[in-house]
């Protein structure tokens, strides 16, 4: 990334400390790539939670402590007694053979848990494994690194399994249940998106060591989760090929941030002007700054973006169709707001050439509704 763009991004962030991308903001990148506001805030490393809070929309975002505790407890259970449960499910799904039980704990290196040191240690062991001279199958909490928009981001998968057929598999341990072979699709998608970042980071690492990355890292994710209503883990393959490709493309397009920055008005900043831990910037000034950037709100933003409540309020104010979600949004091609939809339906607005088809459909719908309404009232 070139220097002027960097300077502009630093100016956007202001005096706050730079926030690195993490697995969640990378997931947001894949989920809502069109959102300019999110792209700018993430690329500049701004503290989205603090900005949203100061703008008056504190997110109840962040994982609930109960969910976190539950997740950690389940992971501990799966890994307890020398990975006993995990080995059982991996033997069933991955088809690990009996001798494949070696494990390495990469949570720290001789008591030192600094990211750089763990990353070096991880690289050494994983490259060795890929070259065929490793002694282990399970690598617990390896520390991977991914370069996003010119900055290094450290990522930490729950586990990487190395199978005898010379392939790495990312193993995600999640505490939502798989009931009768089915799990909540939203949860599965967010888990796989997270895992995609790991796949890309691991492939990067191996590519640098001169190993064919596509062959060495599977794009099938192993999802380990509680079976039915019990606490016993089960595992399933999730195909992440499409998501890996999508995220790879988004990462490559991060360079595009340059074009976005150039469109911004001079002097725009999301600085909160903090003084002694308290944001001093007038709220109107901040919201004015935020309003100058386009945001593309989607209902599923609520799952992963701290700014979601702010964007939703803004979308509602503008009567934008975004709040109805992409399913409804796509039905109204070329029409952006609820006021316009209503205007066309009532025949109060004259449709442009490309809206004419939509207008006919809307008027038809309005007529049907009116008829039903009448019939209902007549009956009552």
């Amino acid at each position: 990334m070139n220097a002027p763009v960097d300077d502009r991004l630093t100016a956007l962030r202001g005096s706050a400390q730079r926030r690195a991308y993490n697995a969640r903001s990378l997931a947001a990148l894949e989920n809502n790539p069109r959102c300019t506001l999110r792209a700018l805030l993430d690329a500049s490393g701004s503290d989205k939670a603090a900005i949203a809070e100061h703008a008056g929309y504190p997110s109840a975002f962040g994982q609930s402590t109960f969910a976190l505790a539950r997740g950690n407890a389940f992971e501990a259970l799966v890994k307890a007694n020398g990975y006993a449960e995990l080995l059982r499910v991996l033997r069933e799904t991955l088809g690990l053979t009996v001798p494949e039980v070696g494990n390495r704990d990469l949570n720290d290196v001789g008591g030192d848990s600094r990211q750089e040191i763990r990353h070096t240690h991880t690289t050494r062991l994983l490259v060795k494994a890929a070259q065929g001279s490793g002694d282990s199958t399970l690598y617990d909490h390896p520390m991977l690194r991914l370069t996003v928009g010119g900055y290094a981001v450290f990522l930490e998968p729950d586990l990487v399994a190395f199978r005898a057929d010379d392939r790495f598999y990312i193993v995600e341990i999640k505490s939502f249940p798989i009931i009768d072979g089915q799990a909540d699709p939203v949860q599965v998608k967010s888990a796989t998106t997270q895992a995609c970042a790991y796949v890309i980071a691991l492939r990067d690492m191996l590519r640098q060591a001169g190993i064919d990355p596509e062959a060495a890292v599977s794009d099938q994710i192993v999802l380990v989760a509680p079976k039915d209503f019990t606490n016993r883990p089960t595992a399933a393959f999730v195909d992440a090929r499409k998501q890996v490709a999508a995220l790879t493309r988004q990462l490559a397009r991060l360079e595009r941030i340059k074009d976005l920055v150039e469109l911004l008005p001079e002097g725009l900043t999301f600085d909160l002007a903090p003084d002694g831990g308290q944001a001093q910037r007038p709220v109107e000034e901040l919201t004015d700054a935020l309003d100058q950037v386009d945001a593309t709100y989607r209902p599923d933003c609520l799952n992963h973006c701290e700014m979601a409540f702010y964007c939703r309020a803004r979308a509602r104010e503008d009567a934008s169709l975004d709040i109805l979600g992409p399913e409804a949004r796509e039905q109204f091609g070329g029409v952006d707001t609820a006021t316009m939809v209503m205007g066309l339906a009532r025949g109060e607005l004259t449709p442009t050439a490309d809206q004419s088809e939509m207008a006919i459909a809307l008027r038809h719908a309005a007529r049907l509704r009116a008829e039903l309404d009448q019939a209902y009232r007549g009956a009552a």
């Binding site: 307890a80 007694n81 020398g82 990975y83 006993a84 449960e85 080995l87 059982r88 033997r91 009996v98 001798p99 039980v101 070696g102 494990n103 390495r104 704990d105 290196v109 001789g110 008591g111 030192d112 002694d135 282990s136």
Partner: protein
């Protein structure tokens, strides 16, 4: 305002000295009691510093009668020792507590275990060899650094206390054999907790538990569990033993006595790595 602080500080240092003396004499009961007093005094000192005035009346160490030691109430470290001897392998606190609850009486909690581990190293450093055994962490085979999640007994040979890539699995299997033998020898008298523990451990070992045609699992048969665990153990043992023996040789050569028990610190690790490179 400085007066109560001064008095507290004085009593803190007196307490510290007394604890050291008690530890040297090997009087664990007394040392534990003094430690509790020390913590109270330190807490009072903290509150004083924070508020500037005594929030609670400072709790002065009062001479207390030594608590009556019940024959059945062994100190926690004895409980841990007993459970570890049954397993015969390094084990995580959770497993130690489960084994204890399944086979022995008395109270032992995971939180107590973690404070115990800190005390053990301190006690060793103040007077090495004063106790017949110490509870110490397992050692990682590559860096010879402590693996704090696993507890071992100092009297075990280094080979048993070192953890290689395969060791967690072999230890798990060996431990399961230990539990199965204990359940088998108590026969009908085995507690439900013991049977449950055996079932939980055996459920992850191939062919250890008989499944009926309908997929239901029956109660574990200790003999069958032992055979199944032994069968998998045979696959791993040789490779695991070689790694452990090699690491133990290296540890004996390069580590001091206390490092052989409590592991090598990181700067030593770096030096070792440099030497090897």
């Amino acid at each position: 305002m400085t007066d109560p602080l001064d008095a507290l500080e004085k009593s803190i240092s007196t307490l510290r000295r007394a604890i050291r003396d008690a530890a040297t004499a090997g009087d664990t009961e007394r040392a534990g009691e003094l430690r509790a007093q020390l913590r109270r005094a330190e807490k009072a000192w903290d509150t004083l510093i924070d508020t500037g005035e005594p929030a609670t009346p400072p709790l002065w160490p009062e001479p207390q009668a030594a608590p009556v030691v019940h024959g059945s109430r062994l100190p926690a470290r004895e409980h841990v020792h007993r459970a570890l001897m049954l397993l015969g392998t390094p084990a995580a606190p959770k497993l130690i507590v489960s084994v204890h609850e399944a086979f022995f009486s008395g109270e032992l909690s995971a939180s107590k275990l973690s404070s115990l581990r800190r005390d053990e190293e301190r006690s060793y450093r103040s007077s090495p060899g004063a106790r017949p055994y110490y509870l110490c962490p397992a050692l990682a085979h590559d860096l010879l650094s402590p693996v704090r999640a696993l507890v071992t007994i100092s009297t075990w040979p280094l080979e048993q206390r070192i953890i290689g890539p395969l060791s967690q699995r072999t230890d798990f299997l060996t431990g399961t054999v230990g539990v199965a033998q204990a359940v088998g020898s108590s026969g009908e008298a085995a507690t439900p907790a013991a049977v449950r523990l055996l079932w939980r451990l055996a459920a992850t070992i191939p062919d250890a538990i008989v499944r009926s045609a309908s997929g239901l699992e029956s109660a574990p048969d200790p003999q069958r569990v032992i055979e199944a665990a032994q069968a998998e153990l045979d696959v791993h043992t040789d490779a695991d033993r070689a790694t452990r023996a090699e690491a133990a040789r290296r540890a004996r050569k390069s580590l001091s006595d206390d490092q052989q028990l409590f592991g090598s610190q990181l700067h030593n690790v770096m030096r070792l790595q440099a030497q090897r490179a």
